[in-house]
C-alpha cells in the first residue's frame, strides 16, 4: 500500500503542474459561478421565486459537469505511461499492478477533493444569504454522495486509460462508458416494472445520486453501488495492466 501512496502523491503533485487540471478547474468554477448567480438572481424575482435550493444549484450542474470533466482528469494517468513506455519500467519495479492502479486513482480523487474543498465557497455564500441558513445535513449528504460518484467515474477513467496509449481515445472511452451508465435508465421509464426495469434502473448511476444523496438521504444500496463500480473498474484496470506481462 505504501507504493500506492507514493504513486498517489507523485500523481497528485503532477496535477498541479498540468495545464489540463487548471483548464478543468477553470471551466468548472466558471460554469458553476454563472449558474449559481443565475439561480440567486432568479430566486429573488417573484415569478421564479421559491425556497433557495443551494445544494441543487451547486451539485446539480456540478455532477453533470463531472461527466465531461472526469475523462479530462483521468485520460493521462495510464495512457501517458503507455505512450512514453514508462509503464514497462514501472512494471519492472517492485510494485504490484493494483498498487499502481490504486495510486493513480487515489491521486485523481484527491485532486477532486481539492476542487470540492474550494466549492465550499458557494455554500458559505448560500448560508449567508439564506434565512435561517442552509440545511447542513443535506449539504453533507450531497458532498458525500458526490465524492462516491466521482470516485466511481474516476475508476472508469483509470480503466479506460489503461486500455489505450492515446489520451484522446481514453477520454472518449471514459465519456462513453460514463454516459452509458448515466443514460441507461432511459431503457426503463419511470413506473415500468419487472426485473429488466429494476436492474436497468439500479444501474443508472445518476439516479443513485439524484434520488438519494442530493436530497439528504444516505442510502446504503447507493453507497454499495458506487463502491462496487469503483472496485470493479479498478480491478479491470489492474487486470489490463497485468495482462501486459503475458500478452
Amino acid at each position: 500500500m505504501r507504493n500506492a501512496w507514493t504513486i498517489a502523491k507523485r500523481e497528485f503533485n503532477h496535477y498541479f503542474v498540468s495545464p489540463v487540471a487548471y483548464a478543468v478547474a477553470f471551466t468548472l468554477f466558471l460554469v458553476l459561478g454563472i449558474i449559481f448567480n443565475f439561480n440567486v438572481a432568479t430566486s429573488t424575482i417573484g415569478f421564479f421565486g421559491g425556497p433557495p435550493q443551494v445544494t441543487q444549484w451547486v451539485f446539480g450542474p456540478f455532477v453533470t459537469l463531472m461527466l465531461f470533466l472526469t475523462p479530462g482528469l483521468t485520460m493521462r494517468l495510464l495512457a501517458e505511461e503507455q505512450r512514453t513506455g514508462t509503464l514497462e519500467l514501472l512494471l519492472t519495479a517492485p510494485i504490484k499492478e493494483w498498487e499502481l492502479v490504486t495510486g493513480k486513482w487515489l491521486a485523481a480523487v484527491a485532486f477532486m477533493c481539492v476542487i470540492l474543498f474550494i466549492s465550499a465557497i458557494y455554500f458559505v455564500i448560500g448560508n449567508a444569504i439564506t434565512d435561517p441558513g442552509l440545511d447542513w445535513g443535506v449539504v453533507g449528504s450531497a458532498y458525500l454522495g458526490f465524492l462516491l460518484l466521482v470516485a466511481a467515474l474516476m475508476a472508469i477513467g483509470v480503466f479506460t486509460s489503461s486500455l489505450f496509449a492515446n489520451q484522446i481515445a481514453a477520454f472518449f472511452a471514459t465519456f462513453a462508458i460514463s454516459l452509458g451508465l448515466w443514460l441507461v435508465g432511459l431503457f426503463a421509464p419511470q413506473g415500468e416494472t419487472g426485473i429488466f426495469a429494476e436492474v436497468v434502473r439500479y444501474l443508472d448511476i445518476s439516479g443513485h445520486y439524484y434520488d438519494n444523496f442530493i436530497r439528504g438521504v444516505l442510502d446504503l444500496s447507493s453507497t454499495v453501488y458506487f463502491v462496487s463500480v469503483t472496485v470493479l473498474f479498478l480491478f479491470l484496470a489492474t487486470r489490463v495492466v497485468e495482462s501486459r506481462r503475458w500478452r
Binding site: L30, G49, G140, Q190, V217
Partner: protein
C-alpha cells in the same frame, strides 16, 4: 474441414461475423420489443449457430488457442472478473433488499425525505400487491413528478408490492373513461378488486388508501332523507344532488345509505356516521331527539351541513330549528341566522359565493392548506371552547373583510349590501369540528351544504373537504394523522446591489481567475525550466 473439395476454413471468419451480428440483432430486438418473441429467438439461434459453425470450420485454431499461454492467462483473468462481478452483484442484491429503515438515513432537517414509520408499517401490512395509476396531462407535469416521488418512497419500502404508471388522459381517453377520471391529476390505487381514488395526492392520502386495503369490511354511513336534503343520486339539478362526493365515499369502501328518521325509532346500530346534508326544512324535534340519542353512543358521529335559513325557507322564516338549538346547547356550536358576504374573497360579482383558504389545524384540513374551498351561500358559525369534555377545532374561516348579513332584504338593495351594527364581522367561521373527549363522539358542522353539491364538488378542494370530514367523523383518520414533518421554511434574504455584485465578483470572476492565474504561473515556470 472439407466438403466436396471446398475448404470450409475460409468461411470461419464470416461465420464469426454472422454470429456477432446475430447476437447484436437479438439484443437490439429485445430492447425494442421487450419480449422474447420469434424475431429475438431467431436472431439468437442464428448467432449461436454461426459461432458453432465457426468452431467446426476451424477446430484446430480453437484447440491451438485454447492450449496457448494467452488462453490460460486470459481464462484465468476472465474467471476472476466473473467471480468479482458475481460477488458484487450478490452484495448489491442483498443490500438493495434490506428494509428501507435499515438502508437509509435521512439527514435533512425534519427528515422530510422519508416516510413516517406509520406509513411504512401500513405499506408492509397491505395484503397482496398494489398498483397505482395516475392520470396527468402534460400541464400537470410538475404535480406528476411530485406524485412519482411520493410513490417511490412507498415503493422503496417493498419494491415488489407497489408498481405504478402514469397515463395522459388526453392521449389515452379510453383508459381515462375506464377509470371514470373527471379531474386532471387523479391517482388511483388498486389492490385485488378494490380501487381507491385520490384527488389531492399526499403521503397521508396514499397511506389512508393503503389502510383501507387492509380493512376489507364496508363501513355504513347514513344520509338523512325526507326534509329536502340533497339527493344521493345524480339528479337533473346539480345543485340538489351530492352524487360526486357519494361516489368518492363509495370508492373509499363506505356503504352509503339514506335514512328517513320519521320511519325509524333509532339510528341503526351499524351507523358509523350520520350525515344531514342541507335539509330545506328544519328537522322536527322528534328527529333531533333520535340524533341526540344516537350521539350519546360511543364513537357516534354527525356531519351537519346547514344552509342559511334565508336560502332554504326564504327571507322571512322565523320558525324554530331544533337541530341548531341542540348543536348550540350540547356541542357549543351556534349556527348564526345570517348569510356570509365577502366582497374581497369571493367569485367575482357574487359576494355570496365565498372562497376560503384559511384553515384551522385539523386532520380534516391539514392537507388542504395550499388549496381553496368554495362555499356558494353560507351562514357563519360561532363556537365556544369552554364546554367541559368537548374539544373544538375551527376548520374553515373566511377572509377578514367578510361579514354575516342579517338583514336579508338589503341583498336586494341597488346600492349593495353593507355591514351593519348587528352583523358578525370577519373572519367568520364556516366549519367546525367537535369531539366529546369522554364518549369519543364527533360532530362536524358546516354553515353550507352547497359546497358538496354536484355543481361545485369538483371545484377547488371542496370534495376533499367533505370526504375528509366524513373520514374524520368515522375515525378513518388512522393515518390522516401521519407525523407532520414541517422543516423550517427557508427564504432568500434581501440582497442589495452591492452584495449581489460581490457574489457575482467572487463566484464568476475571482474564483475562475485565481485558477487561471495559478495555471498561468505554473505554465510560465515550466517554460522557464525547459
Amino acid at each position: 474441414m472439407k466438403l466436396q473439395n471446398v475448404d470450409l476454413k475460409q468461411f470461419a471468419p464470416w461465420a464469426v461475423i454472422v454470429g456477432v451480428l446475430g447476437l447484436v440483432a437479438a439484443g437490439v430486438l429485445w430492447l425494442l420489443y421487450r419480449q422474447f418473441n420469434a424475431a429475438v429467438q431467431i436472431s439468437l439461434i442464428v448467432g449461436l449457430l454461426a459461432f458453432v459453425a465457426a468452431i467446426l470450420f476451424r477446430p484446430g485454431a480453437v484447440s491451438t488457442w485454447a492450449q496457448g499461454r494467452q488462453a490460460r492467462y486470459g481464462a484465468n483473468t476472465a474467471l476472476m472478473i466473473v467471480a468479482l462481478i458475481g460477488i458484487l452483484v450478490l452484495l448489491n442484491y442483498i443490500v438493495a433488499r434490506l428494509p428501507i429503515e435499515a438502508r437509509q438515513r435521512d439527514l435533512s432537517e425534519g427528515s422530510v425525505n422519508t416516510l413516517p414509520q406509520e406509513a411504512i408499517d401500513v405499506m408492509k401490512a397491505v395484503p397482496g400487491t398494489v398498483r397505482a395509476v395516475g392520470f396527468y396531462t402534460s400541464r400537470m407535469a410538475s404535480t406528476q413528478e411530485s406524485t412519482r416521488q411520493m410513490l417511490e418512497k412507498f415503493r422503496a419500502v417493498d419494491p415488489d408490492k407497489l408498481s405504478y404508471e402514469f397515463v395522459d388522459p388526453e392521449t389515452n381517453p379510453v383508459r381515462a373513461r375506464e377509470y371514470g377520471v373527471s379531474r386532471d391529476g387523479t391517482l388511483f390505487l388498486e389492490s385485488g378488486t378494490r380501487r381507491e381514488e385520490i384527488r389531492i395526492v399526499s403521503e397521508a392520502e396514499i397511506a389512508s388508501a393503503l389502510v383501507r386495503f387492509t380493512q376489507p369490511e364496508q363501513r355504513v354511513i347514513y344520509f338523512t332523507a325526507g326534509r329536502g336534503e340533497k339527493g344521493l343520486e345524480a339528479g337533473q339539478q346539480q345543485e340538489t344532488s351530492m352524487s360526486v362526493v357519494v361516489e368518492l365515499l363509495k370508492k373509499q369502501n363506505y356503504d352509503v345509505r339514506p335514512l328517513n328518521l320519521q320511519l325509524t325509532d333509532t339510528v341503526p346500530s351499524d351507523a358509523r356516521a350520520l350525515i344531514v346534508a342541507g335539509p330545506q326544512q328544519p328537522l322536527p324535534q322528534a328527529d333531533v331527539d333520535k340524533i341526540a340519542q344516537y350521539l350519546t353512543r360511543e364513537r357516534a358521529s354527525l356531519v351537519a351541513l346547514l344552509d342559511p335559513t334565508a336560502q332554504t325557507q326564504g327571507a322571512n322564516a322565523t320558525g324554530p330549528d331544533p337541530l341548531a338549538d341542540y348543536l348550540s346547547a350540547n356541542w357549543g356550536v351556534t349556527v348564526r341566522d345570517d348569510v356570509v358576504i365577502d366582497l374581497e374573497r369571493s367569485i367575482q360579482g357574487q359576494p355570496l359565493w365565498i372562497v376560503a383558504n384559511r384553515y384551522g389545524s385539523s386532520p380534516i384540513t391539514d392537507r388542504l392548506q395550499n388549496f381553496a374551498t368554495f362555499f356558494p351561500i353560507a351562514r357563519s358559525l360561532e363556537y365556544t371552547t369552554t364546554v367541559p369534555n368537548l374539544s373544538t377545532t375551527m376548520l374553515v374561516e373566511t377572509g377578514g373583510q367578510a361579514w354575516g348579513e342579517t338583514d336579508i332584504a338589503s341583498l336586494d338593495d341597488p346600492s349593495g349590501p353593507a355591514s351593519d351594527a348587528g352583523d358578525a364581522t370577519g373572519p367568520l367561521v364556516v366549519g367546525v369540528a367537535v369531539e366529546n373527549t369522554q364518549t369519543k363522539a364527533r360532530v362536524v358542522v358546516f354553515g353550507d351544504s352547497d359546497f358538496a353539491a354536484d355543481i361545485v364538488a369538483n371545484e377547488f378542494a371542496n370534495s376533499s373537504l367533505f370526504v375528509n370530514s366524513v373520514n374524520w367523523a368515522t375515525r378513518d383518520d388512522t393515518l390522516i394523522n401521519l407525523t407532520q414533518r414541517t422543516p423550517p421554511s427557508r427564504s432568500l434574504r434581501v440582497i442589495d446591489a452591492l452584495t449581489g455584485n460581490m457574489i457575482l465578483f467572487v463566484t464568476v470572476l475571482a474564483l475562475p481567475a485565481l485558477v487561471l492565474i495559478a495555471g498561468g504561473i505554473v505554465w510560465f515556470q515550466r517554460r522557464r525550466h525547459v
